[in-house]
Symmetry: C2
Subunit: 424 residues, 2 copies
Amino acid sequence: MKLRIYNARILTKNGVIEGELRTDGDRISYLSPVSTLDWQDWDREIDLKGNLMIPSFKNSHTHSPMTFLRSRAEDMPLKDWLYKQVFPAEGRLTDEDCYYFTRLAVAEYYAGGTTYCCEMYGHTEAVASAFADTGFGAYIGSGIFDFDGNYDKITKRAVELKSKTDKLPRVKYALAMHAQYTCGDETLRAVSDLSKEFSLPVLTHLSETAEEVESCRNEHGVSPVRLLAEKGIFDLGGTGFHCVHVDEEDIKIMKKLNVSAVTCPCSNLKLASGIAPIGKLLDAGVSLGIGTDGAASNNALDMFRETYLATVLQKYLSGDAAALSAKKLFDSATDGKICGVEKADGLYVGALADMAVIDMSAPEMQTLGDVRDNLVYAGGKRNVIMTIAGGKVVYEKGEYLYGEDYVALLEKCNSAAKRILDES
Amino acid sequence: MKLRIYNARILTKNGVIEGELRTDGDRISYLSPVSTLDWQDWDREIDLKGNLMIPSFKNSHTHSPMTFLRSRAEDMPLKDWLYKQVFPAEGRLTDEDCYYFTRLAVAEYYAGGTTYCCEMYGHTEAVASAFADTGFGAYIGSGIFDFDGNYDKITKRAVELKSKTDKLPRVKYALAMHAQYTCGDETLRAVSDLSKEFSLPVLTHLSETAEEVESCRNEHGVSPVRLLAEKGIFDLGGTGFHCVHVDEEDIKIMKKLNVSAVTCPCSNLKLASGIAPIGKLLDAGVSLGIGTDGAASNNALDMFRETYLATVLQKYLSGDAAALSAKKLFDSATDGKICGVEKADGLYVGALADMAVIDMSAPEMQTLGDVRDNLVYAGGKRNVIMTIAGGKVVYEKGEYLYGEDYVALLEKCNSAAKRILDES
């Protein structure tokens, strides 16, 4: 597939270039203010009419199949919600359910300019297939925990899952464990050993709630970050999801062991977990990603809203309107590193052709100020008029272009959700 | 104008009705699950195809012309931003500038399902004309302050402005003063007297920042709420915009004197002002509205984002995921009372025909859960496919239907913004 995209504003790390961008396969092959005349056999030529090409969003933490739980039983205390609503319903999920619920999530991701995610969920092969079948990029793990069985069962299952998922296009196996509080010593040993066997860092929910940190300190005398570090989980680096309740010592450990942090501000507010100290994490040199978490606790899968909140919440937290610029967080939100993909961190020749087009004529984009500030502070999914994933146009003005029968998909998802939830 | 709208889901206070809604002039004239056959001379019959009709949003605090300052000079300390950016630029505004900048704001309001606002800005006649010419509803005042001159000048100007604005369709004069810290005793006396003369409550910025409250206490020994109450400003009730730093005594006074509160969570976070205690205000029985504030400090004019944040920030603040339901805040966001309009608080026969249509097939609206929860937690401007103001369809799928030459409007606004800001 070769695309020629002209009359474009192109958002690069060095500012906005007015000109032309071309793709060859899944890469950007040309980016210049100059339109050279070398004719090629373009699959498509696209006149952007002055609209803005941006790197796509990379959703660094999500549970995509949870679209079936969106806006059911809201405004409940966290424990009631988890134990009375989420867990019983999840117990009734089939592979097929998860496949279609994930396709529904992908439709939302694409319509909002997101093309990659870091995914953690059960029924992992089915979820991975949904990503592969829609051209979506995913770094995907099951979220290993004690319920997966003993050392042998866990390691055998991981090897099997890795060999299957790594075969799929734009999908890569991630060594993801659920969390410190759901993984005992034997599970942690298995995860640590797998990390060395696969040469992979470990991804995990980390210090999401105050209760979780307190109970780890009561039981083990140290914080979850330090405990996992002592158990060898982060020997090859890692990623912590949420990191709402990390302290100064935790942040030092994360920096030293190359553990990235992913912030999920919408979910953390809605579940009353708190605000992650991402200003401090960034100051300490910890890499930062931004994620939506699942639709059950968010409820949108909207990287615009997450990025906006990530910046304004730090202004609130620090009492300083000048804290943590929108520009910095836009870069965090569009960088693919935590999703396990290199060269997906901006628009330049050789970079992955994962991009979105923003309608600059929309009133919220006007009058024309700084475009990156405007994207973060006033932009939204409404402004995305085209999404390109791996060099293919997958979404354009409300239409999905990867063979999705969207009406049938909604029917399948709603009838499955009805079956799963009516049994509750 | 008579509209017949069928195959609709209609969101009423008693739940969702599947059926038909009709309008006659600016009122809802029929709302029923049953489609009776009485033929009428419809101006338009609209098949909603199962999509959702909701009451429109009422933006209870805004400065609409500030679209010219959107995304300029972001991430600055508040005082530098105000004194070096905002005030000098505002000094160069003309009536014509404000007229077009307001029309740009209206385009954004309509595209996001908002049809009414409570407005405070200078060049007030020009701003009011922009509302009248676009069919937008407004309760509008100038924001009286010391710079307006002495008692006689202030009262004369108010009488003149009231007589002009009250003549415009869907526009009503509001007695708005800027804030306690910009109004000395003579100005306050004028405002208090005008309140009695006009039989109008007083609208004002109130306890937005900690500094403002502290300096009032230092100078006057009491909080801004109590000071204004003692000066007779709230003798006929009133509305306080922001109310971030009101304490228990303030809340008691507000309840007793029938002073409503308007929360602007986006602006308050971005300017690091804090989080208004709206849970406590509602518990005390104070009426609540939701507003965007101006585009310079928000930067979107997006009532979805405000309503979402209003609820999740209270969950964060109280540490309780069950605090302050989305349903309650959706009602606050769609009630016109603070915008000075009665019977604009829901969809029922006799209510104002100010409504929006939500595309229920969008992925973020699926799977189908509770629609009001879903609107607040996952909905966005993207989901608005039609807006009806005063019984007229003013916006439909990206098009403005009130004679707006949108391309020319953007040109006018950008060239004016360039003139105003290049001189800075």
